[in-house]
C-alpha cells in the first residue's frame, strides 16, 4: 500500500484517469465519428513517443519511421494472403520491423548528425520503389502500385482495433519510462550531452544507440500494423511517405522535444488541427510548418517548455503536490 501511495502523484492520477476514460470511449456511446480521431491520436502518440526517444533523448534525428510502419504493414498484408491470422501478422510485422532496423543499422550507424538524418531519409524512398515493383503474392492484378487488401478482417470490430491502438500507445509510454529510468536511459543522456566523453567513460555508445533504434522500430512497426488493420488496405506511395515522418516530427517538436509530456500535447494539437482542417489538407500541414518554426525559435522545448516557464504552472503544481503530501501523511 505504501508502495502505491508513494507513486500517487497528481500527474500519475491524471494519467490513470485518462487511460480509463480512453479505454471506455468505444462502449460509452461517444459519437461514432470521433473514434477514428482518437484512434489516430493514440497511434501518432506511440510513434511520436518513439521519435522522441530517438531525437530527443538519443540525439538521433531519424527520418525513417515510414520504413518501419510500412514493413510491418506489408508483413501483415502479405501474411493474410497466405492465411496467417491478422493478430499474428501484427506481432510478426513488429518483429520484422525490428529485424529490418538491425539490418539497416549496420550502414546507418556509421553516420552521425545530419548524415544520419539523410541516410535514414533515403531508406523509405528506396523501399517505396521496391514495393512498387515487387509482387510477392496475388498475381499481376495485386501488389505493386495497386497495393494489397488485408484479408480476414470481416469480423474484426472497430472497438477491438481501437483497444489495440490504446495498448500500443500505453506500451510506448511505459517503455519510454522504463528506458529513461534504466541504465540505457542514463547512457543515452550521456551520449546526448557529449558522445566522446561518454565513450571514453566506458559507455558502449554504438550498442546503446542501436538498442533505442531497435525499440523505436518495433513500436513504430506495431503502430503501423494496427493502423493498416484499421485501414484494411495499403499501397506503397502513401505507406512509404514522408508525411508520416512530418506528422511524428511535428507532434514531438510542437509538444516539446526531450520531455515526456511533449508528444502527448503535440499529438493532441496535430490531431485537432487535422480534425478542424480535414477539408483543406494542404492548409493543415502549412499551419503546422509555421507553428513548428515559431516554436523552435521561441521555445526549443515546445509547449511543455513554455508551460514550465510560466509562474502559474509552477505554483499550481507545487500547491497540488503539497496538498497531496499533507493528505498522505494524515
Amino acid at each position: 500500500m505504501k508502495f502505491l501511495a508513494s507513486r500517487l502523484t497528481i500527474g500519475n492520477m491524471a494519467i490513470g484517469a485518462m487511460v480509463i476514460i480512453l479505454a471506455l470511449l468505444p462502449v460509452a456511446g461517444v459519437p461514432r465519428e470521433w473514434l477514428p480521431y482518437v484512434f489516430l491520436f493514440l497511434l501518432y502518440l506511440a510513434m511520436a513517443n518513439m521519435w522522441n526517444l530517438l531525437a530527443g533523448y538519443s540525439g538521433l534525428i531519424s527520418l525513417c519511421a515510414p520504413a518501419f510502419l510500412g514493413i510491418a504493414g506489408y508483413a501483415l498484408a502479405i501474411g493474410t494472403w497466405v492465411s496467417i491470422p491478422w493478430w499474428l501478422g501484427i506481432i510478426g510485422g513488429a518483429i520484422l520491423a525490428g529485424i529490418f532496423a538491425i539490418l539497416i543499422s549496420l550502414p546507418i550507424f556509421r553516420l552521425s548528425g545530419v548524415y544520419f538524418a539523410i541516410g535514414t531519409l533515403v531508406v523509405p524512398e528506396a523501399l517505396r520503389i521496391v514495393f512498387l515493383l515487387w509482387r510477392p503474392v496475388g498475381g499481376e492484378l495485386h501488389g505493386g502500385g495497386a497495393g494489397y487488401m488485408i484479408k480476414g478482417l470481416v469480423d474484426v470490430q472497430m472497438s477491438t482495433i481501437y483497444w489495440l491502438a490504446l495498448g500500443t500507445a500505453i506500451a510506448s509510454a511505459v517503455i519510454m519510462r522504463i528506458v529513461l529510468k534504466s541504465k540505457l536511459g542514463l547512457g543515452l543522456a550521456a551520449i546526448r550531452d557529449n558522445e566522446r566523453a561518454a565513450a571514453n567513460s566506458g559507455v558502449n555508445t554504438l550498442r546503446i544507440k542501436v538498442y533505442s533504434f531497435l525499440i523505436s522500430a518495433v513500436i513504430t512497426g506495431l503502430a503501423g500494423a494496427v493502423f493498416y488493420v484499421y485501414q484494411g488496405y495499403l499501397e506503397p506511395v502513401s505507406t512509404f511517405n514522408v508525411k508520416w515522418t512530418m506528422t511524428i516530427l511535428l507532434a514531438t517538436v510542437i509538444g516539446g522535444l526531450r520531455t515526456e509530456g511533449g508528444p502527448i500535447i503535440g499529438t493532441i494539437i496535430i490531431v485537432f488541427l487535422y480534425f478542424l482542417l480535414a477539408r483543406y489538407a494542404g492548409y493543415s500541414l502549412l499551419i503546422q510548418g509555421v507553428i513548428v518554426i515559431i516554436i523552435m525559435l521561441l521555445s526549443p522545448q515546445g509547449i511543455v517548455g513554455i508551460m514550465r516557464n510560466t509562474r502559474l504552472y509552477q505554483s499550481l503544481s507545487q500547491l497540488a503536490n503539497r496538498q497531496l503530501m499533507a493528505f498522505k501523511t494524515e
Partner: protein, 288 residues
C-alpha cells in the same frame, strides 16, 4: 553487340543530366560548405523556382529562361530572409534546431505550392525544350543540353565570383574560419545571409532547367534533395570540380541503370548508390 550499339545514347544523356544534377547540388554545397548546414528544404526551394517560372510562363507569357529576371531576385530575397530571421537564430539554439526548422520551411513551401498550383504534375514546356538535336546517328533532347550549358556557366560564374570579388573572398574566409574572419573585420552574419541567398539563386536557376527537363509536382522536392545530397557527398565540400564530377556520376548511374535494367530502376539505383556511399565513405569520395 546490339546492346553496345545503343550505349552512346545513355552515356551522352547521363553526362548532360549530370550537369543538371551538379547545378541542383551547387546551392546545397555552398550552404553546406559555408554554414555546415544541410538545408533539408533545398529540394523544395528548387521546386519553388520551377513554380515561379511556371507562373511567369502561364500568367505573363514569359519564356522560362527569361523569367529568371523575376525568379532570381525573388529567391535571393527569400534566401536572405530565411538566413537572417530563421536559420541565423537557430544555430545558437541546439544542434538539431536548424535541421527541424529547415524541415518546417520545406513543409511550408511544399504546401504553399500545393495550395496555389494544386498537386497536378506540371512542366515548363517551350517549343525548343521539346525539340531534339542530332549527334551522329543519335538524337538528344535540347532541354538536356541547355541544362548542361547552364550548369557550366553558373559554376564558372560562381567560381570567379568566389575568387575575385570582395564578397566572394569574404564568404570563403568565413567558411574556413569564422572567428578569424570576424577578427579581420568581416561581418559574418551578413556574409552568411549572402551565401544563403546566392545558394538560393543557383537553386532558382536549377529549378527552371529542371522544370524544362522533368515534370514536377509540389512533392518532387524530396527526390531532388536526395539526388543533390548524394552529389554533394560524392563531390566533397566546397569543391566545384567535385560537385561537377558527383553530378556526372549520378547522371550516368541513372541513365545506365535505366538502359540496362529498365526505367523503373532509375531512381532506386540512385538511392542505393547514396546509401552505399554513405556506408562506405561517410564523408564522401573526395571529402576532406
Amino acid at each position: 553487340m546490339e546492346v553496345l550499339a545503343g550505349l552512346p545514347t545513355p552515356l551522352v544523356m547521363g553526362i548532360l543530366l549530370g550537369g543538371l544534377y551538379a547545378l541542383l547540388a551547387l546551392g546545397l554545397s555552398v550552404v553546406f560548405g559555408v554554414m555546415k548546414l544541410v538545408n533539408i528544404a533545398h529540394g523544395d526551394l528548387v521546386i519553388l523556382g520551377s513554380y515561379i517560372a511556371f507562373a511567369c510562363m502561364t500568367y505573363l507569357g514569359m519564356d522560362p529562361i527569361i523569367s529568371l529576371v523575376i525568379g532570381i531576385p525573388a529567391l535571393f530575397g527569400i534566401g536572405l530572409f530565411i538566413q537572417q530571421f530563421l536559420m541565423g537564430r537557430a544555430f545558437s539554439l541546439s544542434a538539431e534546431a536548424p535541421l527541424i526548422i529547415a524541415f518546417g520551411i520545406a513543409l511550408v513551401i511544399q504546401n504553399t505550392n500545393q495550395i496555389i498550383w494544386t498537386p497536378l504534375s506540371r512542366g515548363l514546356t517551350t517549343p525548343y525544350s521539346l525539340s531534339s538535336f542530332h549527334l551522329g546517328p543519335y538524337q538528344f533532347p535540347v532541354s538536356y543540353l541547355l541544362a548542361f550549358i547552364a550548369a557550366v556557366v553558373v559554376m564558372l560564374a560562381l567560381r570567379e565570383f568566389l575568387r575575385r570579388t570582395y564578397l566572394g573572398k569574404a564568404i570563403n574566409a568565413a567558411s574556413e574560419d569564422r572567428v578569424a574572419a570576424q577578427l579581420m573585420g568581416i561581418n559574418t552574419k551578413m556574409i552568411y545571409g549572402f551565401a544563403f541567398a546566392i545558394a538560393m539563386i543557383s537553386a532558382g536557376i536549377a529549378g527552371v532547367f529542371l522544370g524544362m527537363t522533368f515534370p514536377f509536382t509540389p512533392t518532387s522536392g524530396m527526390q531532388f534533395l536526395i539526388i543533390a545530397f548524394g552529389v554533394v557527398i560524392i563531390g566533397g565540400l566546397g569543391s566545384m570540380l567535385g560537385t561537377f564530377l558527383g553530378g556526372l556520376i549520378f547522371g550516368l548511374v541513372q541513365t545506365l541503370a535505366g538502359f540496362f535494367f529498365g526505367p523503373a530502376i532509375q531512381m532506386l539505383s540512385i538511392y542505393v548508390i547514396v546509401l552505399v556511399i554513405l556506408a562506405v565513405r561517410p564523408k564522401g569520395l573526395f571529402g576532406r
